[in-house]
């Protein structure tokens, strides 16, 4: 309601100055919406930066049936923890470095958003649209004990073509659409040519769609893929030790040098079509 940055004077300035200067959210041009361009825009101060107070007040005054529209806005380095986003529209927003711990982002639209370096402890994304978003190196845990129970939940979310890097151990992607999902250490951008291995140990991918996903070199031990669609997925060098792949569809997937120690392959569909199975490590220890 009140308690706003800069007080009344600043608000008047904001209304007649800032909003006229940078224009409404709809001015964001999807034609130039690629991560590099977004970063340049942010660096040049052109992003439509919004304060935590503005976001909180807008969400507080909103109903679930009439979501707040924060599309294309600059939401960098804010404390937006413990907020109910009530299905807000955040497509193409720049959320770099923002604290979203314990926030409810279920059914929000985050398509194309930049969520790199965010804090995602206990964050809920179930049913959200994250298509084409980036989540590079977020902070998942509150301390070095790495308690998997603190990991975010992406159940039934749309993560088609998303780019994740970092450690996501314990996260849940059950029923999510991860087609074309990129969890590899290969970064095409010139400024980040190599990244360390990514981890999602003990993650839940049951019934998820991972068709064509790139999971090269990922650490996925102890993860569950029951009934998941991994057709055509790149699982080269992937650590799948103790993973539960019962009933998963691996048609045309590439398992070259993947570690299958104690992996449960019972009921796997299309195992005969898998590429590089003979090159997989510890195949003899897999449960078949």
């Amino acid at each position: 309601m009140t308690g706003w940055r800069g007080g009344v004077q600043s608000w008047i300035t904001a209304i007649f100055g800032l909003s006229a200067l940078i224009g409404p959210a709809s001015a964001f041009d999807p034609a130039i919406d690629d991560p590099t361009t977004r970063e340049i825009r942010a660096a040049e101060g052109l992003a439509n930066q919004t304060t935590a107070g503005e976001v909180t007040a807008a969400l507080f005054g909103a109903d679930h049936g009439q979501p707040v529209d924060l599309s294309g806005r600059g939401l960098k380095s804010l404390d937006l923890s413990e907020l109910d986003f009530k299905g807000a529209r955040l497509a193409r927003s720049d959320v770099f470095g923002t604290n979203l711990a314990r926030s409810n982002l279920e059914k929000t639209d985050l398509a194309g958003a930049r969520l790199d370096r965010t804090v995602l402890t206990f964050t809920r994304f179930a049913g959200a649209n994250l298509e084409g978003a980036t989540l590079m190196r977020p902070t998942i845990y509150s301390d070095l004990r790495v308690d998997w129970r603190e990991a975010p939940v992406f159940d039934s979310a749309n993560l088609r073509g998303t780019r994740l890097t970092g450690r996501f151990d314990g996260s849940s992607f059950m029923g999510a659409d991860l087609s074309g999902f990129n969890f590899s250490p290969h970064e095409p951008r010139a400024d980040i040519s190599f990244l360390p291995r990514n981890f999602c140990q003990g993650c839940k991918f049951d019934r998820a769609r991972l068709r064509g996903a790139d999971l090269d070199d990922a650490g996925l031990s102890m993860s569950s893929f029951q009934g998941a669609d991994l057709a055509g997925a790149r699982l080269t060098r992937t650590d799948l030790s103790r993973a539960d792949l019962r009933g998963a569809d691996l048609t045309g997937a590439d398992l070259s040098r993947a570690d299958l120690a104690d992996a449960d392959l019972r009921g796997v569909v299309g195992l005969e079509t898998v590429k590089g199975l003979g090159l997989a490590l510890n195949l003899e220890r897999a449960i078949r």
Binding site: M1, T2, S10, S19, T50, G53, A57, V68
Partner: protein
């Protein structure tokens, strides 16, 4: 300018901003109840506040809410009700008890019981500016009522030692600019005791009728917070009751 007028104008300006920038497409009709005061009780739980001192503070707040003079002040205002929340702060602030309507003696007693049950979650530093930032961004923005005045009640036994990104007085001025009153209850015990009242006066308190009411150590906290509640809730002129306590 009357405080209620400032609050009204602030709300109108903010709503206009949100609509002009497209953040708020449509909002629900404002159906909140009018209350006399929206009071944020913010309590220092930093390293210097050990278990005994923490208990003295919580017990002091709880006992104040059970005090007949405080309950009378709540129930005899123009609207006969307030909304109350509690924030604890050290390295980071925590909304320990979210906004709660106090419209009866039972409500006040129930809130007091919740205060007594609050677990101690301290920290090393005294990050007062960070607390005010959270109050500004997360607490004052979510008041589930239409208050005549908004009061932030800051108590602590030390200066901000957090090397905050923004100085305490900058956030204080933002809150004051939006019509919020910030009162101080410095606890004069420990290393900062000699300068703390003056520091609170210069860096923390602000707003129409704002005042500093020091406690002479943690043992005096209960007396001080009770007096402070009566003044804050009733909207009395603190200068008349507490001559010599400076205001901004």
């Amino acid at each position: 300018m009357r405080i209620s007028t400032v609050v009204f104008h602030s709300v109108a300006v903010i709503a206009a901003f949100l609509l002009s920038t497209g953040i708020l497409q449509k909002t629900r009709a404002v159906d909140f109840e009018p209350v006399d005061t929206a009071l944020v009780v913010s309590v220092d739980v930093s390293n210097s506040v050990d278990a005994e001192r923490y208990k003295l503070q919580m017990e002091g707040i709880a006992a104040a809410l059970e005090d007949e003079s405080v309950i009378d002040a709540i129930l005899t205002g123009p609207n006969g009700r307030i909304v109350l929340s509690m924030v604890t702060w050290a390295d980071k602030p925590k909304i320990a008890i979210p906004w709660t309507m106090i419209a009866s003696k039972d409500d006040a007693l129930a809130f007091a019981a919740r205060v007594r049950k609050q677990p101690r979650e301290g920290g090393e530093f005294t990050c007062l500016a960070g607390m005010l930032r959270t109050v500004s961004d997360k607490v004052v923005t979510q008041i589930p009522a239409k208050p005549l005045r908004i009061v932030v009640d800051v108590s602590g036994d030390g200066k901000d030692n957090c090397n905050a990104e923004e100085p305490t007085e900058v956030v204080r001025d933002e809150l004051v600019g939006a019509g919020v009153i910030i009162n101080g209850l410095p606890i004069l015990e420990g290393g900062d005791a000699d300068q703390l009242e003056g520091w609170y006066r210069d860096h923390v308190v602000g707003g129409t009728g704002a005042f500093v009411l020091p406690a002479d150590g943690f043992g005096d906290f209960g007396r001080a917070i009770r007096q402070k509640f009566v003044v804050e809730i009733s909207g009395l002129d603190p200068g008349a009751r507490y001559a010599g306590t400076p205001t901004r």
